[in-house]
Symmetry: C2
Subunit: 501 residues, 2 copies
């Protein structure tokens, strides 16, 4: 089998590669397994040095990579060069989170008359399989959040090339491997494989200890089921697209033209190909919300070229499905016709049409959004209760004294990983306090996150050592504290560098 | 349907109860759901007060409870009165862990030029279903670790009565509900249901947000599959029995009689009905390990009465299966014949018999253990590699200068949740540094633990609030810091009570 990527603007082939054959995959997995103890033993500072080397390689080749990415994704050079910079910064961030050391969770209970000495340490799981997303060819792809967090946590990575940006996947992997080799990283620390069947075999391979995935509901669920059928079941951290709602309060609807403009800007960003795209606006009736959003869309006049032919086709089909499910088109901007163009559209429906099982509650990937107007708090509450859980939600308020906002933020916090106040859900900062994962089905492990410092926690597992003297503990848990870790001793938090007792 | 518990010493019925009917279960779930926001809003000090009230009730009725438990489990009054005290102490411990507040994971990133203000807080999941174990009718049953951790984390509990100690389950629930009512807890904070079918419906109920289970592999896997078939999949935290290995190094074998005595003491504790029972000893050839263990067993002359008729029958059957799989009996102490007695036995097999799929690698619940003697490091390594992962493992060394110990501890740490040095795996202290869960299949979520401070983390989910002013945040995240939480601000750990910036 051969994978091929295409130029979305023309449909012409860009890159081609043979699928990794089973024998080569065995070799890849063998190298990853051999690298696992070396990565686990490497100090966080060493891991940071490895990740920084990859980040530098990305930056040094930013123009080349951006050009290649634009050819394969049509996302535009401006957006993509920003994304290269973000990807490089992310890699360094995860390395710095490792150096800070809280993710090790070092916990020591000294022996008492009735209990033995216990030392608890989060240890790296081992080789991690990474399946990146088509819509962020840098930040959520082969050298994205998952790869950065896994290596920072001390785990080798086997990434699957994304077929939609195959050439870019191969080139990024080539640069990363050269940079890692120069930085002295073990050979199997980062490897790339190609092909759909190879991806399946990767998830089934006994060497693989966890799977990270960003993408569609169907893709994520398929990997999750596959991993659950293994003899040794492994975690699948899948973050998937669902409908992220925006709720506009009555006071928040006062400046509807501005709100509509912001909403359109958010749902058309990246041609609507964001997993945090706001797909549904719930606005008070009588505020002209649907018309305002429609007008803003016509004014913005986007002309989306989609990542793949399949996505482009599904946008047109999706608009039809939404109409069949009871929505009517308020505004539709049809494509100029080049390559894999797709329409952008705003539809409206009554909140009563939001019934369990309705197509209206499912994501329509692309620059398409639905506006529903509510006439009462009760109607709004019912509409929200029928929504699937999602990664994020926004509440647009009338400001700090908006009396409707608190209950909405609290209610939405039950259904999402992140509640945004007076802003839009697109744009996910990689910082300490970020949470990208939301409840099922937006995330297969809702307590996990692929973005932010907590991302490292996905790739470690606690082990407690009972009555073990220093020579039997892993280096990070020893009395000489080579990693300078924050720790908890007899229940008390001890900052890094302070004596433990 | 009616559940009945029996006296293992006589087989006579002890307690009987009707299964919870579907209508009553709906009411139970409704009350649990109604209690969820109240439990979540209750401060950790309030939760500690609730748990302390239950602990006091257990202590105040210790004699009565112990007597009832002994009648239903035959575990003996001495062991059981210790376990009541432990259960009460556990409840207080989880409440104190909540008060310490690290489990909230409060993380604040102040706004920068390029990123918004983010506040991340672990929020309680909601109602938790608890399935306790037959072998610890207090510490791992309806008022055990799972119930304590869930309530401490801010979640209501619906516990299923254990059929083998039905009377005790009902009585404990009665005491807990009275104590909680006196302490002002919401009505639905803790409830008990009865019946196997009820347990299935509980896991399927949309109100339930997580399942905690301690028990057999088959029971845990059944609940895990059931939860994975829900429309909204929920986590199942199942800790299950597997074979916990003990490895004796060559220097460690010097005092084989003492080692054998300790091993017998551990695998016959509670009549071998511990999930941390050491079921396999790997000892150097030529040290007379199997004979020494056999002799120690004969000297101990245990006369186990098992928890249930099924367990008693499976011990005899299990010994036969181990023989069929190539083991030979070294010592067997046959039951005196009263009630659900079972034999205790030591068997031996060559390490070459430890092949994938062999019955020798599976748990035989009861006072039965296998001894395998290894002739080389290579043989030991191969034997260890075929073992399933487990909750715990022990390494018996020759002391601090034993050169064989380090590699063994490191190797075993890949396969277990807890490595014990020069001690036995039975006995699991509930402290900050404890880890009870091990890799699959000993635990369905290997990064979780049912014992120790980290147990609370199973019942919360992080939510990030973006650009939310104080009035829109949950109380625990507000600037006036009503819960006096440790926190991380802009990446820096800030102990409780210190200003955040």
């Amino acid at each position: 089998m051969t994978d091929t990527s295409y130029d979305p603007r023309t449909g012409a082939p860009v890159a081609q590669a043979e699928d990794t054959d089973p024998e080569e995959l065995r070799a890849v997995l063998g190298r990853a397994a051999a690298a696992a103890p070396l990565a686990a033993a490497a100090s966080p500072r060493t891991r940071l040095a490895w990740l920084s080397a990859v980040a530098e390689a990305l930056e040094a080749h930013a123009d080349e990579l951006t050009g290649l990415a634009d050819q394969e994704t049509a996302l535009g050079v401006a957006r993509l060069s920003g994304e290269v910079a973000r990807a490089a910064a992310q890699l360094r961030f995860y390395g710095e989170v490792a150096v800070e050391g809280s993710f090790v969770g070092l916990t020591v209970d000294e022996a008492t008359e009735t209990t033995p000495r216990l030392v608890r340490v989060n240890r790296p799981l081992g080789p991690v399989a990474v399946f990146g997303a088509s819509n962020f060819p840098f930040a959520f792809s082969v050298l994205g959040n998952d790869t950065g967090a896994a290596i920072a946590a001390g785990c080798p990575v086997v990434a699957k090339a994304h077929p939609a940006h195959l050439g870019l996947s191969l080139r990024q992997a080539e640069l990363a491997r050269a940079a890692l080799a120069s930085a002295g990283a073990p050979e199997g620390l980062f490897q790339l494989v190609v092909g759909h069947r190879t991806g399946v075999e990767l998830v089934q391979a006994p060497e693989i200890t966890a799977v990270a995935f960003t993408g569609s509901q169907s893709g994520g669920m398929a990997l999750w089921r596959l991993a659950n059928e293994r003899e040794v079941v492994i975690p699948v951290y899948a973050e998937m697209g669902t409908v992220n709602p925006v709720v506009v309060t009555r006071p928040g609807a006062a400046e509807m033209a501005t709100v509509a403009e912001g909403f359109v800007g958010s749902f058309t960003l990246g041609n609507g190909q964001f997993c945090t795209k706001p797909g549904l606006m719930l606005a008070p009736a009588g505020t002209g919300a649907a018309e305002a959003v429609g007008e803003a869309l016509r004014a913005a006049a986007p002309s989306p070229v989609m990542l793949t032919q399949g996505i482009a086709e599904s946008v047109t089909a999706g608009i039809g499905q939404l109409e069949d499910a009871g929505a009517e088109v308020v505004a539709r901007v049809d494509p100029s016709g080049e390559g894999w163009s797709a329409p952008a559209a705003v539809l409206r429906a009554g909140t009563s049409a939001l019934k369990p099982g309705s197509r209206l509650l499912e994501e329509c990937f692309g620059a398409v959004a639905l506006v529903c107007e509510y006439s009462s708090d009760e109607e709004l509450r019912e509409a929200l209760s029928t929504l699937q859980s999602s990664l994020a939600a926004s509440v647009i308020t009338g400001g700090a004294d908006d009396q409707e906002a608190a209950a909405l933020v609290d209610g939405l916090s039950q259904k999402v990983g992140r509640v945004v106040v007076d802003g839009w859900p697109t744009g996910v900062a990689f910082t300490w306090a970020q949470q990208h994962g939301g409840p099922w089905p937006s995330t297969s492990v809702p307590s996990a996150t692929s973005v932010g410092a907590a991302g490292l926690e996905r790739f470690v597992r606690p082990v407690t050592y009972q009555s073990a003297h220093d020579g039997l503990l892993p280096p990070e848990a020893r009395a000489d504290d080579p990693w300078a870790l924050p720790r908890r001793v007899d229940g008390r938090l001890v900052p890094a560098g302070e004596p433990g007792s």
